[in-house]
C-alpha cells in the first residue's frame, strides 16, 4: 500500500523485526538508543534478576533486553537462557494515540507512532492506555516519552540506532511487509530444525485490538514468558460498554432524582 503523510511518500510502514533466537543479550541496542536519543541512565542498582538491571521499558529506556532463565537440572539439555530486546510496538491501533487529548501523539509518515514533545502537556492519559506498558511520563521533561523509531534518523535515510548496533541482526529494521516475508522464512527454517517458534504481532490473537504491530517479534515460547500480553486489550474496547453504563447510570439517577424531587414536592 502507498501512503502519503506530510508530503512524504512511503510505500509501506517502517518497523522492526526482533528475532529472540538471535539475541545474545549484549544490550548494544539499549546503549545505542540512549546515546542517540540522549537519554539518562536509570540509576545504578543490581536487581539480581539475571543480567537485567534496567528491568523495564520506561520514559528513559526505549529498548530493554529481558533475560529469561529456564534452567532445568533434571533435563539439562532443555535448559535455556533467552534474551529479548523489547521496544515500543508501534501498533496499528495505538492505545496511547487514541487516549492522547492534545494530539501530541501522531502517526508519522513512516506509519510509526510518534510523541511530539513540544505538543505533549504531560497529562499521562497515554500511560495506562498502552497495553504493553511502553510509554511513560518523564518527571524532568514533564512529557510522555517512548521509542520514536528514530524518527530523526529515518528522515535522513538512516536506520534506527538499535538496529544499526545489533551485532547479530536480531533486530532488523525495514519495510514491515518485507520484514514479514523474512520473518516467515526464518520461522520455516527454525521449524524445519525442529524448533518451536512463533511470530508475535503479525496476525495472532495479540492483534485483535491493537492490530498488526510495526515492531513484531519471533519468540521461542509463549508470549507471557517474555512479558508480552497474549491478548493486549485497548481501553477503547470498553468505551461502548462504559458509555452505555454511564448513560444507564445517568438515566437511572435522573429517574431516581425526579422521583425524589416529586416526592419532596408532594410533601411540601
Amino acid at each position: 500500500m502507498e501512503r502519503v503523510a506530510d508530503g512524504v511518500v512511503t510505500e509501506s510502514a517502517m518497523g522492526f523485526f526482533t528475532d529472540v533466537t538471535l539475541c545474545i543479550g549484549c544490550k548494544a541496542c539499549e546503549v545505542a538508543c540512549k546515546q542517540w536519543n540522549q537519554l539518562p541512565s536509570d540509576g545504578y542498582a543490581l536487581t539480581g534478576n539475571s543480567y537485567d538491571n534496567t528491568s523495564r521499558l520506561s520514559s528513559t529506556t526505549w529498548r530493554h533486553v529481558a533475560f529469561v532463565e529456564q534452567m532445568d537440572r533434571e533435563v539439562p539439555a532443555a535448559s535455556r537462557w533467552m534474551m529479548m530486546s523489547d521496544v515500543c510496538k508501534h501498533c496499528t491501533n495505538a492505545g496511547c494515540l487514541e487516549a492522547c487529548p492534545t494530539g501530541a501523539i501522531v502517526r508519522n509518515e513512516f506509519d510509526d507512532v510518534y510523541v511530539q514533545p513540544d505538543v505533549c502537556n504531560g497529562c499521562g492519559y497515554c500511560v495506562p492506555s498502552c497495553p504493553f506498558g511502553v510509554v511513560a511520563v518523564q518527571p524532568k521533561s514533564g512529557v510522555a516519552q517512548k521509542c520514536t523509531l528514530c524518527y530523526d534518523r529515518q528522515k535522513d535515510g538512516m536506520e534506527p540506532a538499535c538496529a544499526k548496533s545489533c551485532p547479530t541482526d536480531s533486530i532488523l529494521f525495514g519495510r514491515v511487509d518485507e520484514l514479514r516475508v523474512k520473518a516467515e522464512a526464518r520461522v520455516a527454517n527454525l521449524r524445519a530444525q525442529g524448533k518451536e517458534v512463533r511470530l508475535y504481532g503479525v496476525d495472532g490473537e495479540e492483534t485483535r485490538d491493537v492490530g498488526p504491530l510495526n515492531a513484531f517479534f519471533l519468540i521461542p515460547d509463549r508470549p507471557e514468558v517474555f512479558n508480552l500480553p497474549p491478548k493486549p486489550v485497548l481501553p477503547s474496547r470498553f468505551q461502548p460498554a462504559a458509555y452505555t453504563a454511564g448513560l444507564l447510570a445517568a438515566a437511572a439517577l435522573t429517574a431516581l432524582g425526579a422521583r425524589v424531587f416529586r416526592r419532596a414536592g408532594g410533601a411540601a
Binding site: L22, I24, G25, C26, K27, A28, E30, V31, K34, Q35, P40, S41, D42, G43, Y44, A45, L46, G48, S50, Y51, N53, T54, E69, M71, D72, R73, P76, A77, S79, R80, W81, M82, M83, P167, T168, D169, N189, Q193
Partner: protein, 918 residues
Amino acid sequence: MPGLGTLYGRGGATTFLMDLEHADLIIIQGSNFAENHPVGFRFVTKAKERGAKVIHVDPRFTRTSALADQYLPIRSGTDIAFTGGIINYVLENKAYFEEYVLHYTNASYIIDEKFVDTEDLDGIFSGFNPDKGTYDPATWKYELDESAGGEASQADGSADDAKGGGTSPTTGGHPAHGTKRPKKDPTLQHPRCAINVMRKHFARYTPDVVERICGTPKEQFIDLCKLVVANSGRSKTMTYCYAMGWAQHTVGVQNIRAAATLQALLGNTGRPGGGVMALRGHASIQGSTDIATLFDLFPGYIKSPSLERGEDSFENWKKNWAKPTGWWSNWPKYAVSQMKAWFGDAATAENGWAFDYLPLNTGDHSHMPLFFTMKDGGVEGLILWGQNPAVGGQNAALQRAALGKLKWMICQDLFETESAAFWKREGVDPATIPTEIFFMPAAGVAEKPGSFTNTMRLVQWHEKAVDPPDDARSDLSLAWNLGKRVKELYKDSTRKIDRPVLDITWDYESDDPHERALGEPDAEKVLREINGYVVATGEHMKTFADLKDDGTTAAGAWIYTGCFPAPGQNHTRRRTGDGWVSLEWAWAWPANRRNLYNRASADPDGKPWSEEKKYIWWDEEAKKWTGYDVPDFPVVKPPSFRAQPGAKGMDAHDGTAPFLMQEYGVAEIFGVQGTVDGPLPTHYEPRESPVPNALYPHQQYNPVLKEWRRRDNPYHAIGDPNYPYVLSTYRLTEHHLTGAMTRWNSWLAELQPEAFCEMSPELAVELGIRNGDWVTVSTARGEVEAKAMVTGRIAPFKIGPKQWVHQIGLPIHFGYQGLVTGDSANVLPPMVADPNVSIHEAKVFTCNVRLGRRGASHEGPTWLPVPPEEQTPLGTPKRGGRVESGSAEQVDHEIASPSEIMAGARRRHDLDHQESEG
C-alpha cells in the same frame, strides 16, 4: 600464542571471522564468544542460520551457551583432559584425515628413542631437571636419517628457553635438526612415529576418565566426539574457537596446542570453515603482540637478544634464530631491516647493525616478576599506558602495594583509574605513599588516528574525528614528545652509552600545522616505518620478500610489510567487503593472507579436497597457485616439487608442505620445538585445585609452571578444606576489562552496576545464601564482597560417585574509582604463571564463600615484610617442580549430591511454611 605458533608456525588465529560462516561445526571452548566478542559472534549466528551446529564447552552456562545448539559443562582447568579425550577418540577410531595427516603433519616422523613419555615417567616427560624445575628438551626431537645428506644443527639445541625462563618462541624456534631429514614411516606402523607416541600418550583419556576429571557427562561427550568426526574430512570442516578461558591457565599454551593438534589430525586447518580461531579480547591485543609490548619480543615475533642465550653480538643472535631450513632462514633480512628502521645510518654491517644499542634480556622481565621486584623496592619509575594493574593484576593488593614503592609514576588514561589513584584507596594513608604521580589525560579513539590489529590479524586504520579536549593527547604524542625531550637533554653527550638515544630515528613530525600545534606526531609516518622502505630512495616496501640483509632496506615489523606499499596507498584504510574473504577490506598480515596455511585446502597434488571446500589450488596451465585468498605458499612452487637432501631455506620444503614457517613445512603435532613444558599436551590440575590429579597421582600440576613462593603471595594446598570451592574470574559484555572506560559511562554502568558472585542454587542452599545477599569470597590473598547471584546457570560438577566440585564466578570489572564501584575480584587469585608465556591463572583457583560483608581490612598479607630469601630479584623465576598430589582422605570428603541438597532445601522450606501457617 605459542600454542598455535609451535604447531603451525605462526602465533595468530589461523582463520578469519567471516569464514566461520563456512564451518559445518563450531566448537567454542575456553571462550565466552557471545559476551566478549559480540560483533564477531555475528558470523556464528550466520553459520547457525546456514545449518551449522554450534557447541559450547564451559564451566558456566553463559550467553554463548544460550545461543549454542549444545552446551557441555566442564570443570575449570580440565580442558586438556577434554580435548585429549576427543584426540583419543579420533585416534582409536582411526577417524583422522589420513592423507592430510600423512602429508601435512609430522605424524609419520619417527621420534628419538631417548624420548620418554609422561605415561612412563609418572606425569613428567624425559629431560626434567628437578632442581631447577625445568625441562631440557634435548630428547624431544626426531630420529634423523643419517643415510641422506645434510648437516646436523650447528647450534646447540638444548634448553635455551627452559634455561632463560622467558617466553618460548612464538613462531619458530632455534635450529633443532640442521639440514638433515628426519626418518619417516609412511605406513604409520613404527611404534615411535609421532602419531603412535601420541596414541599411547592419550590412550587413558577415555570418555569415563573425561567424565571423572571434567565432570562432563560421558554420553554427552561421546555424542560430541561423533559430531566432530562427522563434520571433518574432505567435504566438511569444523572450527575451534578459544580465548582467555584457555590462555589464563598454568597449562594455557598446552590447552591451545591440544585443539591445534586435533584440528591437524582431522585435517581442518588451512581450509575454509576450519582452523583455530584465537579470539582476542580487546581492540588491538593482537597488534600489541605483533608490535611488540612483550618484554622478550621485538616487532614481528623476533626474539629480543638474551644474554642467557649468549646472544651478545649480532652474529651470536643470528646463529640462534636464523634456521637453515624453512621460512626462518630469512631471519637476517628481517632483523637487519628492523635495525635499519630503528637506527638508520648508525646501523652498519661493521657495527653489527648497531647491535650494541639494544638492551639485552637478562631473564624473566614479564609482568609478574616486574611487580614483585617493584614491591621489593627494585623499580624506581613506571609509565602506565592502557593498563590498570590495581584492578587487572593478579593478587591485585600486592600490585597496589608495589605501586606505592615507586618514586614516580606516569599514568596516561582517559580517567583517573584505580592505578592512578592507588594512594587514596580504602585503608591507605596517602601520607605514607612516597610515589609522585603524573596523570596525563589521554585522547579517546575518535580523537586520534591510528590502527587496530584485530583478532584475525586484520590491520584496520581509524581516522581522527575531533580534537581531544583540553590537555588530552594521544599515547603516541606522549611517547614521541618524551623521546624528543630526552634526545634534547642528551644532545651534547659524547658518551657511548647515550648513542642509542641520539641515533634512534624519531622523525614523525606531522605535516599538518594543526596537528603540530597540538604536539601530535603523524601516525601514518609510524606506519610507514613499520611497513618499511628502501633506505636509499625512501620508496615504500611492497612485500617482505624484498627485504634485504645488507642494510639497503628498513622495516619496523616485517610481518606488516605490504600494508602501506606506496604513499597515499594505506591499505589498512580499505573498506570493500565481499561477504567472505574480503581481500579489499583493510589488510591482514602476512601479505594480506586471510586463511593461513591455505595450501592445505588442496590435496598433495594441488587439487581441492572437495568442491564444497575449494579454496586455493594449483593451476596447472598458469603454473601457479590460485584461489579465493592470497596463497600462503610460494606461488609458483608446484605440488610436485621435492626438496633435495641438504637443501636450505624454502628449497628444503616439498611442494606438499603447507606449514611454511615450520622446519619441514608440516604441522608439528608432536612438538619438537618451542614449548618448554612438553611436546604433547598433558592433563595437570591447576596450581590450586580441590582435587588430586586423577591421571598422574604423583604430579599434581604443571611441573615447570612459574610460581613465586612468598608470604605476600601464598598458595592454597591441594584440597585445602579452608578453600573448598573453585573460582573463575571473567568479563561481562557490559564492561571492558578493569572498567577503566566503562564504569565511567552512565549508560554502561547502569547495565552492570555492582559486583556480583554467581553461584549455584545448590551451593547457596548449603551456605544459607539467598539471591541478592552480600557474600564475601576469600582466599589467602585477601577477600572481596559482592552480591550473590544465585542461578541455575551455575551447576556443581560430579567428578566421582560421591564427589562434587562447586564452582563460583566473579566478574573482574570493579574497582574503587568510577561512577559505579565495587571490590576487585583480582585481589583473590595468586600470582602463578604458564611457563611458556608467563600468563596468569585467573580462570581457576580455590576460595571460600560466606554470607555477609567483608571486614575493613581485605587486602590480605601484602603488608607482611618479605624476607630477602623470598624476594624476587628481576630475572630469576622460581619453578613449580615436582609436587605430589594430596592424600586421598584430605580431599575425599563426601559432598551430598545437588539433588539431595535441593531435596533438603525443599523439606526445610515446607517445614518453614507449616510453622508459619501453624
